[in-house]
């Protein structure tokens, strides 16, 4: 392996170790990773159980809402996995040290995305396992389509996360509430618990411009019709490619602005 690549991998590993130390040193944070997805899953599990008794349509797919809430949490936790971890660097006024080291911005991005994946798997994975215990429903029964849905939602969450941290780097920690606000703005138009056709006509184009809508429509087709819609999958992948490029470009652009305005030295509480 060329030395430059090995050095890059070593720096990415250094950042992953740094974020792992952060988790290891605070067990409430690890519990919190799984706590909210589990609470959501339990709540929607009961709602699902009730509605299945009331609706013939829902009775066809017993785990519809549980799957929806778990996949929604992939999007939510994945985005927080990027943004919260980056905010830690800002809280601790560590950015100056990091960017005087040989760490490249793209290496920081790779490490943030990787730790986001790890945090999401821990959080949502625990809730998914508990769903088997509580409701005898396994989201893993979806098989390979689950991997397609998970990957698409994770990539979308990374793109949103990168845009959020770019805004917070530019405007300071006063804007950190965006980490929650942005993702909840996406929720109503993502068709998580209802088909996109439920939305008013004028809002449907907005919904179809989001990869998440294609994923949740695809999930319903798998669970209700037992059919994986490749067209929805392709649309989600294509949109995600655009979103991710935009997310990375936004972060790198703001990083340049931060160097021009002296924000790296002053970022902090």
């Amino acid at each position: 392996m060329p030395d430059a690549i090995a050095a890059s991998l070593n720096r990415i590993l250094a950042m992953l170790i740094r974020y792992t130390f952060l988790l290891r040193n605070s067990w409430p944070r690890v519990i919190e990773l799984a706590y909210w997805p589990t609470m959501q899953m339990i709540l929607w599990g009961f709602i699902n159980r009730f509605l299945v008794q009331q609706s013939a349509w829902l009775a066809q797919a017993a785990g519809l809402f549980i799957s929806a809430v778990l996949l929604w949490d992939v999007l939510f936790r994945g985005q927080l996995g990027v943004s919260i971890v980056f905010f830690e660097e800002m809280y601790s006024r560590n950015l100056g040290h990091l960017f005087v080291s040989p760490l490249r911005p793209w290496e920081l991005i790779v490490s943030l995305l990787t730790i986001s994946l790890i945090r999401t798997v821990i959080g949502v994975g625990a809730a998914a396992l508990l769903a088997i215990v509580f409701y005898q429903y396994s989201i893993f029964d979806m098989g390979l389509p689950l991997l397609a849905f998970f990957s698409n939602l994770l990539v979308m969450s990374w793109a949103i996360g990168l845009m959020v941290i770019a805004i917070v780097l530019r405007y300071g920690l006063g804007a950190e509430g965006l980490a929650w606000a942005v993702i909840f703005a996406v929720a109503p138009v993502s068709g998580i618990y209802y088909p996109v056709s439920t939305l008013p006509d004028w809002l449907q184009p907005v919904a179809w411009s989001l990869p998440s809508s294609h994923v949740f429509e695809g999930m319903r087709q798998v669970l209700i019709d037992g059919h994986f819609d490749w067209a929805l999958f392709r649309h989600a992948v294509a949109l995600n490619a655009v979103y991710l490029v935009l997310g990375i470009a936004t972060f790198l652009r703001v990083f340049h602005i931060a160097r021009r305005k002296g924000l790296l030295l002053n970022a902090g509480d």
């Binding site: 720096r11 740094r18 130390f21 021009r260 030295l265």
Partner: protein
């Protein structure tokens, strides 16, 4: 210090940084010789921290050029960042990580060979071996400064940038830190570039002083040269007279 014919370690030409209408640094030129200790001296807002941030690439200049270890810092900073390091009161280390964890992460980031041994060696030299397992946030200001200096020395930097290195230390600890840095420079031929408000520290440690006022260099020379030039008893008196009257009037 090396022979004066060796190329300068830091070369700055016409360096300028404007924030809107304000010129934080306004067209400065200087050179720093290998193995020397140079201080930027000036009051609050003189442009010291801005200058150091530009030298390190944390801040992009509005104009001018910077070469460090022969490399253009505006184009090729990643070629030299692994050979530099710095510490500043304006940045910190993650408080939830232990001292050892922090140094371990930075050791990896800098690709330090024999990382664990190097950390143990620095902890011994800077007398914080007993703090290695403590969370960084629980340390006193003086202990944090020692750990930050250790982080800055992890990669055996050829050029070490120190922004107010003893600002939060009591006189005894500050004195030991100065002795340590002087000894370290002697042993490793490291170039030290510092910003300080402490005139006695600068007078004692530095080969070259760059006096800044309102973003400009108003004078430079060795501490002895500056003291003689302004006819003052010490560097603090030089600083006060320049700060109050300007360099031209103070020299007259």
């Amino acid at each position: 210090m090396n022979s004066p014919v060796s190329p300068p370690v830091i070369e700055v030409q016409d360096l300028c940084k404007r924030f809107g209408a304000v010129a934080a640094v306004d067209g400065i030129d200087f050179q720093v010789a290998r193995g020397s200790i140079t201080a930027l001296l000036g009051g609050n807002g003189a442009g010291k921290t801005t200058t150091i941030a530009m030298l390190l690439g944390l801040l992009l200049p509005s104009r001018g050029s910077i070469r460090v270890l022969g490399e253009d810092m505006l184009r090729h900073r990643y070629r030299v960042l692994g050979r530099l390091n710095f510490t500043s009161p304006y940045v910190d280390l993650p408080g939830r990580l232990s001292v050892a964890e922090n140094l371990n992460v930075y050791g990896r980031l800098y690709g330090v060979p024999g990382r664990h041994q190097r950390i143990a060696e620095l902890a011994e030299e800077l007398d914080f071996t007993h703090l290695l397992e403590r969370a960084y946030r629980t340390l006193s200001a003086g202990q944090k400064t020692r750990v930050a200096i250790a982080k800055a020395l992890l990669n055996r930097p050829e050029v070490l940038f120190l922004d107010e290195p003893t600002a939060s230390l009591d006189p005894d600890t500050a004195d030991r830190m100065r002795r340590y840095l002087l000894d370290y420079r002697r042993r490793h031929d490291t170039t030290l570039f510092m910003a300080s408000h402490n005139m006695a520290e600068v007078e004692r440690m530095c080969d070259q002083v760059i006096l800044m006022r309102a973003g400009r260099i108003v004078d430079q020379g060795s501490p002895r040269e500056l003291i003689d030039r302004y006819g003052q008893a010490d560097l603090e008196a030089v600083f006060l007279t320049v700060a109050r009257n300007g360099a031209e009037a103070a020299r007259a």
